[in-house]
């Protein structure tokens, strides 16, 4: 076992490719994909339908075998494991699903216990652990209910409890909130974030919802056509020029016709109780126009982008931009 030092790599995917079918019908679902997830972080992979996200996440626990490349989880090469070794490795990797995939014939508690039956725990230990983990995911009192009697959010909580019952160090999530309404999605995401912090869990999740990345991800990757277009810590990506993730997370729309200079400011955790724009107008005598804004408060931090129109001569504009940058804001001059 590799000691659990935070910052070290928990999941390392390198140069993984996977093609379905052959000949003219061949689909290259993964095209030379490399990815690195640190211990204890929440890593989100976003991309449109068919981008290869599910294929990627399924190679992590070897539900899908890549044609080439390597997948290391907790120091173990997953692509060559089989039989008992593979099953043992999977005990260390929990997975949750879009459609929950609970056994309808079993109660909530028995669904969670399945995970422990598989790892070979005895009956008293199974019961104790199942009740403990159900408490942890907020399903106290629902142990004897059947999945059909639960709401979507509760079902996913059972899914999480089942995935975490064997105390894995990795949680994989394949669109776990895509079948839930926005409020329930928020609750489930917060639960995942909480559990990740409390249990030191590494989470790899895939989603097509940008909100998921905004809300809980430390790092993210953007996928398209089987390739990873960019990846890294979310706050870094946000302040990378022309970042796809930045644009996708906080879309500002088309740039309108204007003769003035246009700049985009990225707020990243700066508490803007400072009136940035008003100050700008006052100090530099510019009639600042707001062309667009996408700002949200996430975990008490203001994050987002605004697009400003700065009428005035070149010198005034340059001075204003300089001033903004000196306040620690990330400013891109669009035109």
């Amino acid at each position: 076992m590799i000691p659990a030092t935070t910052g070290s790599t928990m999941i390392s995917v390198s140069r993984v490719s996977k093609t379905y079918g052959s000949g003219a019908a061949a689909v290259r679902a993964l095209d030379d994909v490399s990815l690195s997830v640190s211990r204890g972080e929440i890593f989100g992979v976003v991309g449109q339908s068919g981008a290869g996200k599910s294929t990627l996440i399924r190679t992590i626990n070897s539900l899908e075998r890549p044609d080439s490349g390597s997948v290391l989880v907790d120091g173990r090469e997953m692509t060559t494991l089989s039989g008992a070794e593979l099953r043992a490795a999977r005990h260390n990797i929990g997975m949750i699903f879009q459609h929950f995939n609970l056994l309808s014939s079993r109660t909530v508690q028995a669904n969670v216990e399945l995970s422990l039956e598989i790892t070979g725990a005895g009956r008293p230990a199974r019961r104790a652990r199942a009740l403990e983990i159900l408490e942890l995911v907020g399903l106290h009192g629902k142990a004897q209910a059947y999945p059909a009697q639960l709401s979507g959010g509760q079902k996913q909580r059972v899914g999480i409890a089942r995935a975490l019952a064997s105390s894995p160090s990795v949680l994989l999530s394949d669109e776990a909130t895509s079948a839930l309404d926005p409020e329930t999605t928020r609750q489930i995401l917060d639960l995942i974030r909480e559990l990740s912090k409390d249990l030191g869990l590494t989470v790899l999740l895939i989603t097509h919802e940008m909100d998921v990345v905004k809300r809980i991800c430390d790092s993210a990757a953007v996928m398209s056509g089987g390739r990873i277009l960019e990846q890294g810590p979310v706050d870094q990506l946000l302040t990378t020029e022309k970042s796809l993730l930045g644009q996708a997370l906080f879309p500002l729309g088309e740039i309108p016709e204007t003769s003035s200079a246009v700049v985009e400011i990225t707020f990243n955790g700066v508490t803007t109780d400072r009136p940035v724009i008003a100050q700008l107008a006052r100090k530099h005598g510019i009639d600042v126009g707001i062309l667009g804004a996408a700002v949200e408060t996430i975990h008490g931090r203001q994050t987002g982008r605004t697009r400003l129109e700065l009428p005035g001569d070149e010198l005034t504009v340059a001075g204003a931009v300089e001033d903004l940058r000196s306040q620690g804001l990330f400013v891109e001059v669009i035109k």
Binding site: L63, F97, N101, L102, L103, S115
Partner: protein
């Protein structure tokens, strides 16, 4: 011709029909036991050995999995398409080999079982196909063995459908058993044939028919009830 004015007529009738019912229960009961054992295994294998299925690779060999799948499919189809009366005749040497005779309630078990297995196997197959593949995947992600997945996921989740399939099979077997009875297999079919038909007694004939209708009703209702109770969907 039976004398209807004989003071023992109704007592005899009751006696004969009860004895016939007993034999039918014996024949159908044992046939059902073997049918369930082999039919369940066959049905599960039919689904699991399919391409992409859990046992598409048998003992590490894809070819073996494919072969088993094709063979089972063909055998089940043959079993389902040969009319029962012909199957019964074709099986006479085999029945004699197994039971030492080809008439009587014990001998009847052989053709009933051979007809019952493919019938039940298809119903099992249908039931197991309805189990969402996501459940198998979830169990795989937990590190389950194939045996665990087969028993605790595929079969366990199909139990309500299996209960319905079971009652349908019982009903089918009762029907077949009446046919075997008519050619010497004992049971209610035998009563109907010998007393009702050969000796022209409408009372015996109706008695048997009423009993058969009742039995079918009871077993079908039991199956429906069980399926409803067992399903938590």
């Amino acid at each position: 011709m039976i004398d209807r004015n004989d003071p023992y007529f109704w007592a005899d009738l009751l006696d004969t029909i009860l004895k016939g019912t007993g034999e039918t229960f014996y024949t159908v009961g044992l046939s059902l036991l073997f049918t369930v054992i082999f039919g369940l295994a066959t049905g599960v294998l039919l689904v699991a050995t399919e391409a992409g299925g859990l046992l598409s690779k048998l003992f590490g060999s894809r070819a073996l999995g494919f072969f088993v799948n094709r063979v089972l499919d063909v055998v089940v189809n043959i079993g389902r398409s040969v009319p029962f009366i012909i199957l019964m005749i074709l099986l006479i040497p085999f029945t004699r080999l197994l039971t030492g005779s080809f008439i009587g309630p014990t001998a009847a078990i052989v053709p009933l079982t051979i007809a019952g297995i493919p019938f039940f196997a298809r119903l099992v197959e249908i039931g197991i196909r309805e189990v969402p593949v996501g459940l198998v995947e979830a169990a795989q992600s937990l590190g389950a063995t194939r045996w665990t997945i087969l028993t605790k996921v595929m079969v366990a989740e199909a139990v309500p459908a299996l209960a319905l399939g079971l009652s349908t099979t019982v009903v089918g077997l009762i029907g077949y058993s009446a046919m075997v009875g008519a050619v010497g297999g004992g049971g209610l079919g035998d009563v109907a044939f010998r007393y009702g038909y050969q000796r022209y007694s409408p009372e015996y004939m109706f008695g048997v028919v009423i009993l058969l209708v009742l039995l079918v009703q009871v077993f079908q209702s039991l199956g429906n009830f069980a399926a409803r109770r067992l399903s938590h969907r």
